[in-house]
């Protein structure tokens, strides 16, 4: 199984091919980084604007390598108890109480104090065992015997202390649990971290990762992506649609549409059975790819220029 995976990821071209098979169009930089990260055993830190396929990349990698995807969504206030494991103190304490009688039995049979202690020592592993441990995504990823793809999504949303806590996992693939000891990875997980750059990540974290920046795609790449995701879209429409979106990205918008929005729009246009992109169709569907009223206004003002361009494209 493992050999099979190594073969599958033998070169960056193989990665690109394989990803295309699962419907993800990766450019050279993406494929190279995935290839390198796998062979060097490094996590990948993926940055870029929202909706360019950062999370999708991890999902695709999991599908391509036939590994389980374990996802950890970060948010402010996320801590070890929710990310790594939770120690069930309540349960532990309750068990101690319930087993008190049993303990009395064990201890009372021996008269000597030291003999009783010795006896107790034989049992103390029970109270610090996996029974009281609730594994969370990170621990699950480390303990998965086949290895897994671990996706730490939007790491920039988590607190800085959580970032520091991740360092041990990212460099050594192990964690320390005070109650039990150190848990090392059974099989090294393939880690993806994504970030939207809401804040600067720490140097220490960046140092441990390979860095991949996914920008907005150029027209040719975007057309290939749309073609692979929305195959029903007529070629002429696809060309119009992509060049329109590319134009809009050049405007001064609060939130420029990204690939996911282009795909959504393409799907909507297919559903509407539009033959070609006219200014009416665009006007009716603006809300699909623009998420702010201000942006809608900006685009509507520019409509005449934008549609002239469309018509020109249509002729050509």
């Amino acid at each position: 199984m493992n050999n099979d995976r190594q073969n599958r990821i033998a070169s960056w071209e193989a990665v690109q091919q394989g990803f295309r098979g699962t419907g993800y169009i990766a450019d050279r930089a993406i494929a190279t980084t995935v290839y390198l990260a796998w062979h060097l055993g490094k996590p990948i830190l993926v940055e870029g604007p929202a909706g360019v396929g950062k999370t999708e990349l991890a999902k695709t990698a999991a599908a391509f390598l036939d590994l389980e995807l374990i996802r950890l969504q970060c948010y402010e206030g996320l801590d070890e108890a929710k990310a790594l494991y939770e120690w069930k103190y309540g349960k532990q304490l309750l068990y101690t109480q319930l087993l008190k009688d049993k303990l009395d039995e064990i201890v009372s049979r021996d008269n000597g104090f030291s003999a009783a202690i010795d006896k107790l020592h034989r049992y103390d592993d029970i109270f610090f065992s996996r029974h009281f441990l609730e594994p969370r995504p990170l621990l699950k990823a480390l303990e998965n015997p086949d290895g897994a793809v671990l996706l730490v999504d939007e790491i920039d949303k988590a607190d800085e202390e959580f970032e520091a806590f991740l360092l041990e996992i990212l460099s050594d693939y192990q964690v320390s649990i005070p109650e039990i000891g150190t848990v090392a990875a059974v099989s090294r997980p393939f880690v993806f971290l994504t970030s939207n750059n809401t804040r600067e990540l720490s140097e220490a974290l960046k140092r441990r990762c390979l860095h991949l920046f996914i920008p907005y795609p150029d027209a040719a790449l975007e057309r290939r992506i749309v073609r692979s995701r929305v195959p029903d879209l007529p070629a002429r429409l696809e060309k119009q649609l992509v060049s329109f979106i590319q134009q809009i990205r050049g405007l001064d918008l609060k939130k420029a549409p990204s690939i996911s929005e282009t795909i959504d729009w393409a799907r909507v246009v297919v559903l509407l059975h539009a033959e070609r992109l006219t200014s009416e169709v665009v006007r009716d569907t603006l809300h699909v790819f623009l998420k702010y009223q201000d942006d809608v206004h900006t685009v509507e003002e520019r409509m005449p220029q934008l549609t002239t361009m469309l018509l020109r494209n249509d002729g050509g």
Binding site: L36, L40, Q97, E160, L210, H211, L212
Partner: protein
Amino acid sequence: MDRVLEDFVTALRLSGVRISVAETLDACSAAALVGYGNRLLLKDSLGAALAKSGHEKDLFSDTFDRFFSDFTCTAALPERDDGVDREATLPEDPLSRMLLQGDQASLAAALQEAARAADIRAIRLPTQRSLYTVRILNALGIDGLDSTIRTFSGAGSGGPLAQADALQAARQELVDNVRQYVERQLDLYGRGIVNEYLEEALRKTRLSHLEQRHFEKMGELIQRLVKRLNDIHSRRRKAARRGHLDFKRTLRHNVPYGGFIFDPKWKQRKVNRPDVLVICDISRSMMRLVRFFLLFLYGLNEEILRIRTFVFCSNLIDVSDVFERYPVEVAVDRLQQGTDLPIVMGLTDYARSLDDFRLQYLNLVTRRTTVLFLGDGRNNNADPGTHVLRDIYQRCKRLVWLNPEPRPFWGTGDSEMKRFLPYCHAARECNTLDHLERVIGSLLAATRH
């Protein structure tokens, strides 16, 4: 090939990309994995291992293209059919041979080798250009070439003389080549250093003497310093949120459950957020300093610091709401222009301003307040009103006076600093970015328990 990679990392570092040793090792293994055959592939791989942000990616791409560009030596003489049998008269000197044989490739290689011998990587400043040009030429063996030229021209007429002319021209070309080469290396290794010098100088420049064109750069610098302080102190705050098991409290809390203990309670450390009250003199002599001081202070995380700000000149007003309503930059600008503020910008009047404070805001000063007083203590020979400062001093936890003037000037002329000093827990000279950072750093450290 690792040596080339090492040079490349040096060039990257100097252009402003921060690279650790671990990342260099990653880059080496990445290069070993993909090989040096495909230029674009190598670029992507090294980029993934070395450049870790959008900005750094741009720097990386630029440096990569400059570093791995080909350098051609145009000095080598082309083959000519002038009937002269060059092979017959080839001189002993290797440099002359290369030039006469028109061997561009080995000439370029020799140039690289000579550059390495001259330690071109150490070049930083434009003034070092001639020095390195001469060093490289010497390492190439220009002496040998010169003596060859002399020998040939001394031979009289015919073939050798033509050779000497050709060599003379080639020599000129070679010197030009080396100069260009040094120029490019300077561009590669010297670019970041100017920036670094500037930053270091700016940190030590008196804020009041700062030129307008450096303001933007100062803003960047302040942001970096503030980020560092924020990182250090916010992390410490958060660590205090969850403590150890509080056994006593757990026992007490679980008494109602018939002695069954199952609901643990935690010890928690309470962390004080320093309460800071800033009083600034914004007379013209102080304005620059106040500007940077406030930019710095308000850049700090709200979680770390709670600030109230008062400014005074002839009278004193509360401007905390200006900072709440506008972003820091805008707020500072508004202060500077005095937009919509009931402040009189006449002569500085400490007595009146301090009295304003006593009447309206003295109750804000508690045992937990740290008061930062920013002023030069120059009161135009009027009564300084020290008794109010004494009242503040007695009520507050700590009163720190920051004075932009150097200590020997305190108390000279109309400076009343000596009379304020008894009522300050600490008084510091504060007029550069370094001072600011130190003062605020110690403020955060001192008010923490």
